[in-house]
Symmetry: C2
DNA sequence: CATAAACTATACTATATTAGTAAACATTAA
DNA sequence: TTAATGTTTACTAATATAGTATAGTTTATG
């Protein structure tokens, strides 16, 4: 029941970009050093964030990354799903045909887990990076 | 961000036991067949539930398992934690010394994840197996 | 128009976790 | 005493995690 390390790095990277003047481009190396994320791994993560439309990348010399939209329009859920794909608390909620008991909708355990999952998604989507950035002491 | 398969099996096994007259003992083989859980794997899971004080085991011929307390006193959180250990949404929340950025309490990302974690625990502890059993159609 | 500083793409790898299985043992009712 | 039950420990195949490596592409600038 854990978010993976890449997601942690991704959120901290987006938070870092959120703290810069909007639109400012910084190279991956700087994020890597500031946030202590292994460089190669970070590049992979930034590519996922780029493909998800959360950050914008610039190639070539003086290239780097910036946010693709204002921090207030990027939620924690956006970042989690960019890295891990859709949240699925349990196998049966992800692909009900794999449920080896009864169809998820009829199983009270799976019903309850579905409600948990919805609650988690709602919770994560309530936090945007404008809010988080204002929380930095 | 998924519960593992053993936890799914565990919850369904506890739900199954909750549907029986309180205190009734059934052998693992029956649970295995009814809930379609591989027998050997189920035995391992039942042992964890036994150690957590959720079910009671009886050895020898005519042995088996029953609930150790009424369904109303067993929550989904109890079962999840019996199988997976304490819920930790992220590495830094589990062991803050492993946090490679700043101490969790000072990082707004980790703060937000901590709130998510608390919300999840609260959510899971609101469901007990009396409730779930009454939801079975 | 060459070069070096950036990002991109694909493939590889060591380790840990997941989801079981196997073999030998302990308990207990009949 | 035996057979049906749970217990213990060890093993294993497959997958996921957390990266690393190698080769390539883009682009500002001198």
């Amino acid at each position: 029941m854990r978010l993976n390390q890449a997601t942690d790095y991704a959120m901290r990277s987006v938070l870092y970009l959120s703290g810069l003047p909007y639109g400012q481009v910084v190279e991956a190396k700087l994020i890597s050093e500031e946030e202590r994320v292994p460089m190669r791994f970070l590049l992979k993560i930034l590519r996922q964030l780029t493909q998800a439309g959360i950050v914008q990348s610039y190639r070539g010399i003086n290239g780097g990354y910036s946010l693709a939209r204002p921090p207030s329009e990027i939620t924690m859920l956006d970042v989690v799903e960019a890295i891990e794909g859709p949240i699925a608390v349990n196998r049966c909620l992800h692909s009900p045909d794999e449920c080896n008991k009864f169809f998820s909708a009829h199983c009270p355990v799976h019903q309850a887990l579905y409600e948990l999952q919805q609650g988690m998604k709602e919770h994560l989507s309530r936090y945007n990076f404008q809010m988080l950035k204002e929380r930095v002491k």
